[in-house]
Amino acid sequence: MIPSLDLVLLFLIVAIAIAAITVRDLLSAIMLLCAYSFLMAVIWVEMHAVDVAFTEAAVGAGASTAFLIAALSRTTRWEKK
């Protein structure tokens, strides 16, 4: 574990999470959630939890993004005011 790298990654995660709930384009929100999951996987690897990181990368960044895009294709892309 490197504490400074941890701090940088956690700050990036918080920034991405805030961006994901404030952006109005839902496709951008999905892509930000994908980046969130991937950074979370990087943090798990950095904390020596490789199995959890594997699951996070496969499910969070891969399958869940595909599911959310599939759900988005049934509705509109832009969030209403």
Binding site: V50, D51, A53, T55, V59, A63, A66, A70, S73, R74
Partner: protein, 164 residues
């Protein structure tokens, strides 16, 4: 039906372009090989049935995204998905029941060492673990594919009305 599908942007007769289809066709075998490696290697390292199954299902999702859901959806019928889901659970429970049977009354569910696949207890345990991982992988692969199809496939409206 064709107008609705072209509205969705998927399922047109020639929807994709050459680059996406070629890259998908090249990548899918490697993704599936990596998924099998993760499933088999899961007992001794990171990975396992769940992760490998998700990766295997993601390869089918990539096929669907590249080739259109109607073209790919005809190759994954709902009944086959349901059969694969149950098959994985049956493999898992069947290995557990075999352990109960071969442990001769000790009733140790999923204690893989009692299955007489080889002569050594530890090798039996490793092989039984691999069998269970294969079952988990099959179920997760079918469930991921089925969830994606049910989310993305815009079926006929009268068919949806009958379902609801």
């Amino acid at each position: 039906m064709s107008t609705k599908n072209s509205e969705a942007g998927e399922g047109k007769e020639r929807a994709g372009d050459v680059i996406v289809e070629t890259v998908a066709r090249l990548m899918v075998p490697f993704i599936q090989l990596f998924a099998l490696y993760v499933i088999i290697h899961g007992a001794g390292g990171p990975g396992g049935g769940f992760q490998g199954g998700v990766i295997f299902g993601a390869s089918f999702v990539l096929l669907v995204i590249a080739f259109g859901i109607v073209n790919a959806g005809d190759r994954f019928p709902e009944g086959a998905n349901t059969a694969f889901m149950s098959l994985g659970v049956y493999i898992y429970a069947g290995v557990g029941l075999l352990c109960i049977i071969f442990s001769l009354g000790a009733a140790q569910f999923l204690n893989y060492g009692f299955i007489p696949l080889t002569t050594h207890f530890e090798e039996n345990r490793a092989l039984g673990m691999d069998l269970v991982e294969i079952g988990i992988g099959i179920t997760v692969m079918a469930v991921v594919t089925s969830i994606f199809f049910n989310l993305a496939w815009k079926r006929e409206p009268e068919e949806g009305g009958e379902e609801e």
